[in-house]
Subunit: 492 residues, 2 copies
């Protein structure tokens, strides 16, 4: 029974695109570059949201909501930020349609309803938020201001891919204001750590925490912290960023406060975000040629029960056992779906839930009833075993933990064996072409070299790892002096 | 200690606007008609969301996400819907900015980046969703399709007011597809009932369930169910609507399915939504001249504890008691904030939490320590009593229930005494001017009469109540025959 899914080894990119659609996660819409997130995909995103939201609140943040639109004059206030996003802005210029005088079934933009000032659909919200903070911050007593927003943003990308790069995407953006530089730096690093913890414990994706080089920094930031993950095809994926914005936005929007010594100072800022792009990272880290593989901590349902029966009588007997298991699993806080639809055959269902990455599948047939057993199948290893009905709940609870850990360990093992130290540019190119993954190499610290390497190899500096040691060396490209290795990779 | 809040009796509208801002719920933004929802206001909205989301899922719905933009050609496909929203559409016409050649610090819209087809920022999502459903629905096995979306929408309103009418607002929109007319009608009524239950049990707002007249229907609907509430100034507020869309969108987007008899038929549809407008209803139903009054079921924190102390030693002793109470309340699932900030005096805090509508306030001073008591103050009645420390948790749990019920009963009593039956147009005008509220009157069933009454009095037909009895009578305006009374009111 085939899923007609392209194999990863044949065409990784095609495999990804097919998987996203066939597993009912998302699809392209009638709007160029914008996706529809389907219920199953959205249920995973909701689980991510719930966990992140909990972590943000535990670290003292509150949610708020700011406008979708940014007036052009505010948008351009912080020059670097504006410059960074100007080329991908959707712009609202009119506020009314009218009937087409040439065809009354059509509408046209009403030329008399042109806005005096154009509105930018937010590509990120620093501008509108800092313009608002100006009214909220007067004194050190108003600080720190620790706010997060769940929102949609629009960046008019030319090449889009479901979840990984879409014109509209969903994300959260934290925007905080602080009295001192150190406090803002600490906050930026703290939130990067929160992202790392979330990625590892929930997505089961091992990440490298680091800082970006100047060329890869967020437009308007003084420092960008990031978490970098490695996909199965050896390409890196930036999974989250946290920016120390210095006083750039406070100066652009004139946000000053009275210090506890009675002086006036500009406020220090951070911003940080993760997006529906995490869905892409999740899919590409764990899934296989059979379809999606979900970590139990994020699966919309962790267990599916499929009855194997002929006739209503058998179904009734199986359903009785199945419903007992459902109740027991729910009591243990395990989410479970009993699929007793008679419109589809068991084989079809097995296939479907494999494709959708449900961590554990329980099959119950007439022989199981006799023996008081069930068949338990793991999605991650594709192994099956018979378990006595009495033990099934304990076994499931145990296996869910094991699967979560196994997925992380497997991904970590792959990632760890794909960080390669190289000491020459030939070696660099060789590893990049033939092995992939992260390349740990010395770099002379200049944007020119970084740019040259990118042009020659398409590899970029993903980050300077937080835990990188000082080590004297020479730049892999120019031979100039270097004090530490950085991580290069081709990236999504 | 004054809050400088305008009294309701002086200027209800001004009172509302001031309250929203002073209680830190929301404020106007730099974007015309768009609001910033502040953390305290957003926390209330989050509680509404959580409860509604739970109710939607319990009734079998799943969340998904559809694009922010609707291509103009899709938008105009369902003519009545398009016509209804055309005059208030924000339109994206360009996708790039560039540096102003005349001033390099400014940006201008790049004329070379004009979209071939304009994109409408969704005022509602029927068009983009039904265009998507076309690909999802082939057979009766794909039905019903029960989907909800949490999203922002934009309607370019000319006169805006915080929460009540804003250019951008947050809402949920359910969009369902069904095999039969009856099933769709049942779904539309079911969701209207869900809204009513939510309004009464959580917002503590009594509502009248009814159907709209043809003139007041959603553009593109065959029937609109609604819940109507009454504000303290005697004006009605439409708190939620649920639409039976017939086959209008299925026909506009050619969404057909194979029935279980093998025939082809167009799908039947519903859509239903509530928005951040509910925040306005909540505020206007319960609040008083002292500020916001929140029902315990929606309060971001239900209890606040304020220490009354001189010096650190007293604070430490009070804090010990306070923290014990905090722990005990949390164990009972009661949300509580202990405000031990030394930057503000107790009187300031009392004032602040009164303004913010916290249902219960506990004050603890040195005398309370001696007597092992606390002072417990109710926000709804503004009454205080001393309670022994041992009894405080039980008392709080009891009072929270009582406050929730009291707010509902108070609002229901006001509403019930403000439904007035009238039998002449003079009486109609007299009640409308001097008493306000709902006017129950006979109407001849014509849009012309409805329109005439609206022009003369500003009152509209809010709904034909679901429970209205047949009763022979004559139209209050034309004297023509009528079979039942309908509810008129001036409305927000």
């Amino acid at each position: 029974m085939g899923k007609n899914l392209t194999k990863r080894s044949e065409d990784y990119s095609k495999w990804y695109n097919e998987l996203v659609v066939k597993a009912d996660l998302a699809e392209n819409s009638a709007v160029r570059g914008c996706m529809v997130i389907k219920p199953y995909g959205y249920a995973i995103w909701e689980k991510m949201q719930a966990e992140l939201d909990r972590m943000f609140k535990e670290t003292g943040h509150q949610n708020a909501y700011f406008p979708l639109f940014v007036p052009k004059s505010l948008f351009e206030a912080e020059e670097k930020n504006a410059e960074g996003f100007a080329k991908e802005c959707a712009v609202v210029t009119h506020y009314r349609l009218k009937t087409d005088p040439e065809d009354s079934s059509k509408l046209i933009v009403d030329p008399n309803a042109k806005l005096e000032e154009e509105l930018i659909v937010r590509p990120t919200s620093e501008a509108i938020i800092w313009n608002t903070y100006k009214g909220w911050i007067q004194s050190y007593r108003d600080l720190p201001l620790l706010i997060n927003q769940w929102a949609n943003v629009v960046r008019w990308e030319m090449r889009t891919r479901l979840f990984l790069r879409t014109a509209e995407f969903l994300w959260q953006e934290g925007h905080t204001a602080h009295a001192t530089k150190q406090e803002a730096l600490d906050e930026a690093e703290l939130m990067n750590n929160v992202y790392a913890t979330f990625a590892e414990n929930f997505l089961a994706i091992p990440v490298i925490k680091g800082i970006k080089t100047e060329s890869e920094r967020f437009a308007g930031a003084d420092e960008t912290f990031c978490i970098e993950a490695l996909m199965q095809d050896g390409k890196a994926l930036q999974a989250g960023t946290s920016h120390f914005l210095g006083q750039n936005f406070a100066k652009a929007f004139d946000v000053k406060f009275t210090t506890n010594q009675g002086k006036q100072d500009h406020v220090w800022a951070t911003s940080w975000g993760v997006s529906t792009r995490l869905m892409g990272a999740l899919i590409m880290t764990h899934s296989d040629d059979q379809g999606l593989v979900l970590p139990p901590n994020l699966a919309p349902f962790q267990v599916v029960i499929v009855p194997i029966y002929k006739g209503e009588e058998q179904l009734a007997a199986i359903s009785q056992v199945a419903n007992e298991i459902v109740d027991d699993l729910k009591l243990r806080g395990i989410s479970v779906k009993y699929d007793n639809r008679d419109t589809h055959k068991p084989g079809w269902k097995f296939n479907e839930y494999e494709l959708k990455g449900v961590p554990l599948r329980i099959g119950i047939g007439p022989k199981d009833l006799e023996k008081r057993t069930v068949e338990l199948a793991r999605r991650d290893t594709l192994t099956k075993e018979f378990v006595s009905k009495e033990d099934v709940v304990d076994k499931v609870a145990h296996l869910l933990k094991e699967i979560q850990e196994n997925l992380f360990e497997k991904a970590k093992n792959y990632r760890d064996t794909h960080i390669t130290e190289v000491n020459s540019f030939d070696e660099f190119k060789d590893v990049l072409e033939n092995k992939g993954g992260f390349i740990s190499a010395h770099w002379d610290g200049t944007a020119a070299t970084e740019d040259e390497i990118k042009k020659l190899t398409k590899a970029t500096i993903r980050c300077i790892p937080m835990d990188s040691k000082e080590e004297a060396g020479t730049c892999v490209y120019t031979g100039a002096m270097s004090k530490q290795r950085v991580l290069f990779a081709k990236a999504y």
